[in-house]
């Protein structure tokens, strides 16, 4: 019996180690290949993982101002920051109203937004582009434009946050209201301080999204390279024929993007897990 258990433990560990290798290998590869020089070795696809010589050439390329990498990086940080801020405010407002207050049309609104969410997002791309263009928020203005679109539609993503608010006992609100507090006061001084995990979750998810936004960002920037975000710019590197070292450049850029975002995420992982678990159960 004991040996059987021991074997099962060893097998479990073996599986876990195997899983870990599979999961980490691409990142190790990305990291290693970013140190291959595109000047002295080969900047394209090669048939070996470990660079022959350690070099920072690809990083040096990114740091040259004329290559705009940090412009794009800054754009993405700005977008991500304001989207996180705006989304969180919108989601909190909508969630409180829908969780705590009973007004005419509440159910209708919730159902209507649910149905709206079933339309694919890219359907409306040309129309949104036109609306933004009218506001002067394409090309050079693409960054505020992208923030505007993301924040304006954020209200529809209230599910997880409302689910969290629903778990805060209503009796607390009622007690405060009997003592004369207004709804606004209850919201600002009671509910928001109690909702730290869900606020962090909402902000984190909103912050992560713009790093992956290729489609709409490239459409709105429309060839105006100062308005690109990192995803748009680096996508171009990967899909260009990689004879000039675009691949190692992509690897280096990828490392620079992934490291801070990953560290941020890992620090706030606890809240993320809380959010997704809560959201999944409530549906």
């Amino acid at each position: 019996m004991k040996t059987k258990k021991r074997i099962s433990t060893i097998v479990s560990y073996a599986i876990l180690v195997l899983i870990s290798i599979v999961w980490l290998l691409p990142f190790v590869g990305l990291f290693l290949q970013s140190f291959r020089s595109y000047l002295t070795e080969d900047g394209g696809m090669v048939d070996y993982l470990l660079p022959k010589h350690f070099s920072l050439d690809s990083y040096a390329f990114l740091f040259q101002a004329e290559n705009k990498f940090f412009k794009w990086y800054g754009n993405t940080v700005i977008i991500a920051f304001f989207v996180a801020l705006g989304n969180t405010l919108m989601v909190l407002a909508v969630s409180y109203a829908l969780s705590r207050m009973r007004f005419k049309g509440r159910e209708l609104l919730m159902r209507f937004w649910l149905v709206l969410g079933m339309f694919p997002g890219f359907l409306t791309m040309i129309c949104l582009y036109f609306l933004l263009k009218n506001l002067g928020l394409t090309q050079e203005g693409a960054i505020p434009g992208l923030i505007l679109i993301a924040v304006a539609n954020a209200g529809m993503g209230y599910y997880v946050c409302k689910g969290y608010f629903d778990t805060i006992p209503k009796a607390l609100d009622e007690a405060a209201r009997i003592d004369g507090a207004t709804r606004a006061r209850v919201f600002f001084t009671m509910i928001i301080p109690m909702s730290k995990p869900i606020i962090i979750y909402t902000a984190l998810v909103a912050f992560m999204a713009p790093w992956c936004d290729y489609v709409f960002a490239s459409y709105v920037a429309f060839g105006f390279s100062d308005s690109y975000n990192v995803a748009v710019a680096m996508q171009r590197w990967v899909w260009t024929n990689d004879y000039q070292g675009f691949f190692t450049r992509f690897c280096a850029g990828g490392v620079l993007v992934a490291v801070p975002v990953t560290i941020l995420f890992m620090c706030l992982q606890k809240y993320y897990v809380e959010g997704v678990t809560g959201g999944a159960v409530k549906g």
Binding site: L16, G29, F122, I126, L131, A152, R183, V215, V273
Partner: protein, 462 residues
């Protein structure tokens, strides 16, 4: 959601009928202030001293009239043709500007929505008058301006909170969606680009095209793409679900140490932005990628494996890579839920002599399926529209001459829609595909939602 079986359409008409009756009877019974308010909105309220509401209503009416005269009407009048005058050149060589179908359609829709909203506001104005009259008749006082204003932070706080989100969704989601639904019934495509050319209504022509199987028709391609979309979502959802559950159970085992480390390793794929990780993985599996290169170097294969070039290989590869992306996510969710299963259930099963597989089948699986039913549904519909994974990996390739409109064998409906919009500027068909995505998503959601055991009364959680 409400479980009482009522017919929403019938409800709507009874409500509408009631409203019309109200409008009549209030006019007959109301005093002269109320009667004038039928024409000048907010008139009665202002005279009765409810300045804030009255002024707001009056302002809305003024704004509405101004909008319609200066802006709305000129677009609204052309909405049935979407413009007749083409842009071109005058006899003297100067450019003459014709109608712009795009603007006519967009602002026409906006005007119609604004008119409907105005009618609703007008109805509110009438009800408001009747309410004020009733309050005065019963000898009570009407709310002061200050208390009216303060109520926006108390009993009417919902209006303060929801106004901006509602307007945002309206302008940047609702209006564009109505617009695109309308585009599906027009011939707006590369040959009818506004502003230089006009487009117009064509009825169900585009839908016929979608289902026609002829050489020019989209029928066959649509069938291929739709079936792959459904199959993809099925595999993507259930493979990650069950494998994620497996991994979660493995890590949850008592004898496994360093639980946190294992979980963190998996979570890295969630943390790293997908465009970095997926693009790298795409290159990893490319024909000149590391995997092919190493396999050849080691002499395991003769020729490169066609990960992205053979339709079936590409499909399988995508599903597997999606596991790499999706398993950590479902593992996280499962971990918390697995711990919620009462331990004594397993204890008593063990006493009854059940082995671990039996326990899984009888306790774990039913519990998890019950609790995560809605989650599975949202995962499935999310995967139907999983743009990122497909687009970053294959962009729908491999393409084929057999398929219409540059569709490829790994294209989902959404990526196909994207290609039509951006590459082919075939807006009419993109709109049709968009509607089909909606039909599929909504249809599946409705059916599954009806049979889910765990759909509880929403208020039940509170």
């Amino acid at each position: 959601m409400g479980n009482q079986k009522t017919n929403p359409i019938a409800n709507f008409f009874t409500a509408l009928l009631g409203a019309i009756k109200d409008i009549g009877s209030i006019f007959v019974k109301g005093d002269w202030k109320t009667k004038i308010s039928y024409l000048i909105m907010g008139f009665g309220s202002i005279l009765r001293g409810v300045y804030l509401r009255g002024a707001a209503l009056l302002l809305c009416e003024g704004g509405f009239i101004y909008y319609m005269i200066t802006f709305g009407s000129k677009y609204l009048k052309d909405i049935n043709t979407l413009g007749t005058k083409t842009s071109g050149f005058n006899a003297d060589g100067t450019k003459s500007y014709g109608d712009n179908s795009f603007l006519i359609l967009l602002y026409g829709i906006l005007s119609i929505v604004i008119i409907l909203f105005f009618i609703y506001l007008w109805y509110i104005n009438i009800k408001e008058n009747a309410k004020e009259e009733a309050i005065l008749k019963s000898g009570k006082k009407l709310p002061s301006v200050k208390s009216d204003f303060m109520s926006l932070f108390d009993e009417h706080f919902d209006k303060t909170l929801l106004t901006i989100p509602f307007m945002g969704v309206f302008v940047f989601t609702v209006l564009p969606i109505i617009f695109m639904i309308c585009v599906a019934f027009t011939n707006y495509d590369a040959n009818h680009q506004s502003p230089s050319k006009l487009f117009t209504w064509v009825g169900f022509e585009n839908f016929k095209n979608l289902f026609s199987i002829g050489t020019d028709g989209f029928g066959k391609t649509f069938g291929v793409v739709l079936s792959w979309t459904l199959i993809w979502a099925l595999f993507a959802t259930f493979l990650t679900y069950f494998l994620g559950m497996g991994v979660a159970m493995l890590i949850n085992k008592k004898e496994i140490k360093l639980k946190k480390l294992w979980r963190t390793i998996l979570v890295v794929t969630i943390a790293v932005p997908q465009f970095v990780s997926l693009l790298y993985v795409y290159k990893l599996f490319a024909s000149d990628g590391l995997i092919n290169m190493y396999l050849m170097k080691w002499g395991w294969i003769e020729d490169q494996l066609p990960f992205w070039t053979n339709p079936n290989w590409a499909r399988v590869t995508i599903v597997l890579i999606n596991c790499w992306i999706g398993i950590p996510y479902s593992m996280l969710i499962m971990t918390g839920l697995l711990m919620n299963i009462p331990e004594d259930l397993y204890e008593s099963a063990r006493i009854d002599g059940a082995n671990s597989f039996q326990m899984f089948k009888a306790i774990t699986l039913p519990y998890m399926l019950f609790v995560t039913g809605p989650f599975l549904l949202t995962q499935y519909t999310g995967n139907l529209n999983n743009f990122n994974v497909i687009f970053l990996l294959t962009q729908g390739k491999p393409q084929s001459q057999v398929l219409a409109a540059s569709a490829g064998y790994t294209d989902l409906l959404v990526t196909w829609l994207y290609k039509m919009t951006v590459n082919d500027t075939n807006y009419k068909m993109a709109a049709v595909i968009g509607i089909m995505v909606f039909v599929v998503t909504a249809g599946i959601s409705l059916i599954v939602y009806g049979i889910l055991p765990s759909v509880k009364d929403e208020e039940g959680f509170q």
